[in-house]
């Protein structure tokens, strides 16, 4: 394989254990240095983020006996964005007896990721998936059951088996609540100290390793340093760089971005997932997009009129005039093709003028056949809350009118580069959940983000972190009056003051919306060199304008939501540029990264395994110098590299 590294880029070592893939995780758990139970209380750990990945890690580390401080900007750890996940969580239990196995879940995830993920990590994820179900059931997650009392499963996009566990359309809620409650228990027992409405604004490093963070109390504005032996970032994804996305309003990339600026490499920033089934935007004041769970594709059929400009109501369009384009183009998977494939297919329909709805910006997702086959009650049991949510937003009843859906930014596969131990390139800085880049390659399969969040938080990180900690036995954490901390605090204060003193004419949202537009147009579902180069210029111009013309009122000594957003958008304005650079650099199409220049004759993504079978990991080099791209080569020993086909 010829590796395309650029500039001073080097090859990264992911520290994967030797040996057959099914033994690697056992081997790592055996060869990692341990910290004995009596010594654990000598260690202070910081976990930023209390979603599934963070609350899980904080609870697990607390249970093990470490002193943990956990942070969230939300007013309670139960509010993290994980709560919004709807459809379900995968595991290789094979309860339905339909040929599933750890190997098949592994295989599907590597293939679904379009061969841009690290085999060893994905295998481990599949391996621990079963423990996740066991654990969360024991903690009281009320998963759907069969009449006999056994757990029920359903199928999800990108898989031909039923391996998805679910709790109505609120799986994320029920999983996060189990993690939240496990964390609450540790807080109650005094093992974890929880800081809510507290935002991490800087990572503190000393002698090249992570030693703590600087936070702002979002109610009082107080800036505080926290010191620890190790720091975990479980701060979620950055889809809100697009302004309109399915993410919660406050999701942001600041924690990861601050770490990047302190030396943590950022991997595959351009790998973002545009989810095919969201409610289309209705007007320019729209603040976010709402996901309609992918599970709906199990029972809904996607179609558009055959003729462009067909203005008839959907129920008046006869079968012959409808194009069930996924079933037509991908007979083997039909409506259950992976997300990237489904999204691009919808985009093409709309480009052909066959979009539906007042703005012609949607495709139909039709339940008529399923309702006729299964009865309305069954559909209501499966998706009742989603149908209700749809009706509330659109004022249309999906039991009688097909839903209108359209792709929307949803998930970021890119994130902080981590090795097999979930450690970033800064020693002592770990990352779990959506914040890291690890398991989904260039496209994530449905119901596997929850799986990764819980796996990282409950099972992986607590097992690997001791390997680092053991080196620091009996060393106290760096005191917070050390220069490393005071300097970081000063930077944070200066930055906040700068936002407040620009005194320009436009709100934070004004700039954020404009950034989102650039990103969705040029670095969204499809990309090309010309557009990306244009985007680089536009982003840089917008950033300059932001720093000149931003208007943030109020002070930094009280609750100030505009000030909070200003910091997040300032970081998005930098992250966006890195995403575009990465998209430019990767001269191939893979998964969610679709370069128009690289497609097959029938419009599918064309990978270049010869030159691009690697993870891009970017290193910050300063405000005015371009980042360096390093590479982690990917080798596929167990899943043969093939052109993905869902036909």
């Amino acid at each position: 394989m010829t590796m395309n590294t650029e500039g001073n880029g080097t090859m990264l070592d992911p520290k994967v254990p030797e040996g057959p893939i099914q033994d690697k995780w056992t081997k790592r758990k055996f060869d990692v240095k341990l910290v004995n139970p009596a010594n654990r209380r000598k260690y202070d750990l910081i976990v930023v983020g209390t979603g599934l990945a963070g609350a899980g890690a904080a609870a697990a580390l607390g249970e093990l006996g470490y002193n943990v401080k956990a942070f969230t900007y939300n007013d309670s750890s139960r509010r993290a964005h994980s709560i919004a996940a709807q459809g379900g969580i995968n595991a290789a239990k094979n309860y339905p007896n339909d040929n599933d196995s750890v190997f098949r879940l592994f295989y599907d995830t590597v293939k679904g990721g379009d061969y841009r993920s690290r085999e060893a990590n994905v295998y481990r994820l599949a391996e621990v998936s079963n423990s996740i179900i066991d654990q969360t059931v024991a903690q009281g997650a009320p998963y759907a059951r069969e009449y006999g009392g056994l757990l029920d499963n359903r199928s999800f996009g990108g898989a031909q088996v039923s391996r998805t566990f679910y709790a109505r359309g609120q799986t994320g809620q029920q999983l996060l609540l189990t993690a939240y409650q496990a964390l609450a228990r540790q807080v109650g027992l005094g093992n974890v100290e929880l800081f809510t409405r507290t935002e991490m604004l800087e990572l503190v490093t000393k002698d090249g390793r992570a030693v703590g963070i600087v936070t702002r109390d979002l109610v009082t504005g107080e800036i505080t340093s926290h010191s620890a032996h190790a720091v975990v970032l479980a701060t979620g994804g950055y889809s809100n760089v697009y302004f309109l996305s399915t993410n919660a309003m406050n999701c942001n990339g600041t924690a990861a971005w601050r770490a990047y600026r302190k030396g943590a490499f950022f991997a595959n920033p351009s790998f973002t997932q545009i989810h095919p089934t969201c409610i289309p935007a209705s007007d320019e004041h729209q603040s976010k997009l709402t996901l309609m769970s992918e599970s709906l594709r199990n029972d809904g059929r996607i179609w558009v009129p055959k003729r462009a400009d067909d203005t008839r109501a959907p129920n008046e369009i006869p079968e012959d005039d409808r194009d069930y384009y996924l079933e037509r183009q991908y007979p083997a998977f039909g409506n259950l093709v992976p997300r990237d494939v489904a999204s691009r297919a919808a985009m093409r329909m709309i480009e052909q003028g066959r979009g539906v709805g007042p703005l012609k910006n949607g495709v139909y997702l039709d339940f008529t056949d399923s309702i006729n086959r299964l009865g309305r009650q069954t559909i209501e049991d499966r998706y009742g809350n989603l149908f209700e949510m749809y009706e509330r937003i659109t004022d249309e009843d999906p039991y009688v009118m097909p839903m209108r859906i359209y792709p929307a930014p949803h998930y970021t596969m890119g994130g902080l580069w981590v090795d097999y131990n979930l450690e970033t390139t800064i020693p002592g800085l770990f990352s779990s959940g959506e914040a890291n880049f690890s398991d989904h390659g260039a496209n994530r399969l449905g119901a596997s983000a929850l799986m990764q969040g819980v796996a990282d938080g409950y099972f992986v990180l607590p097992a690997t972190i001791s390997g680092y900690l053991a080196n620091w036995l009996n060393e106290p954490p760096v005191p917070t009056d050390d220069e490393a901390f005071t300097a970081a605090e000063q930077e944070v204060r200066d930055r906040l003051n700068r936002f407040l003193s620009i005194d320009g004419t436009h709100s934070v949202d004004y700039f954020h919306r404009r950034l989102g537009k650039i990103m969705i147009d040029e670095c969204g579902m499809s990309r090309d060199r010309k557009g990306l180069e244009k985007a680089l210029e536009q982003i840089s111009a917008l950033r300059a304008e932001f720093w000149k013309d931003l208007k943030v009122l109020g002070t930094d000594e009280s609750l100030n939501q505009s000030l909070e957003r200003a910091g997040r958008v300032a970081d998005f304005l930098e992250l966006a540029e890195l995403m575009v650079r990465d998209a430019l650099d990767r001269e191939e199409s893979c998964g969610g990264h679709f370069r128009l220049e690289h497609q097959t004759e029938d419009g599918e993504a064309r990978r270049d395994d010869e030159n691009y079978a690697f993870v891009s990991a970017w290193q910050w080099t300063g405000e005015d110098s371009p980042p360096i791209r390093h590479a982690e080569p990917l080798e596929f020993e167990y899943v043969a590299l093939t052109q993905r086909s869902y036909k």
Binding site: D75, G188, H285, K288, F459, L553
Partner: protein
Amino acid sequence: MNLTLRVWRQPRRGSEGAFKTYEVKDVSPDASFFEMLDQLNERLNDQGEEPVAFDSDCREGICGTCGVMINGSPHGPQSGTATCQLHMRKFNDGDTITVEPWRALAFPVLKDLIVDRSPFDEIIQAGGYISANIGAAQDANATLVPKPAAESSMDAAACIGCAACVAACPNSAANLFTAAKIAHLGLLPQGQPERYLRTVAMVETMESYFGSCTNFGECETACPKSISIDVIAWMNRDYVAAQWKNLRKQGQQA
């Protein structure tokens, strides 16, 4: 649509607050209530007045971050709907809408429409969990859970912790919230070992912050997840049972 808003403005915790009136013009009926407030805030910012602070995150009715009193009703006029899911088509052109924060002694106002709901977390920390250490679980299908039990448990577990129940209650009681968690866990086989201890611990923490329930039932009406007041009866029964159950005999108390 054009609307008149009367909005509670309060600079910080413990400071004086007052209603302030604003006109909002050209609101789309398809906009959500918060998108309408976003529009107002954008204008206020442009005019040099600090935007109205309000909490929201998922804007899908699931995270429980949001919640304001709209014309005296928690989460506004539409039943089973969190504020973030309320759309302007539920109002009429020319309406005057009064917007204020949750009012309860246990929830001090932090700014404008934002309150501190941390006592809810303390109730959970007191016992709203199953003590199952990570790594120690048996196979998930080893314990059968009858479908109806799983369904009723899920009904209660749907609580989003928004605190509309407290805001609605004339006594500012938190019984619906507390009971929903007690029922969620107590209805499942996994929740049995700690059932009575959990109930006592949670109820006592609840009582240290909140008023007493006198069965007005306003909470059920206000709940965006329509959680049934039946869970309160369940909690009360378990609480009474816990008083006479010999906990020591069950090996649940030191």
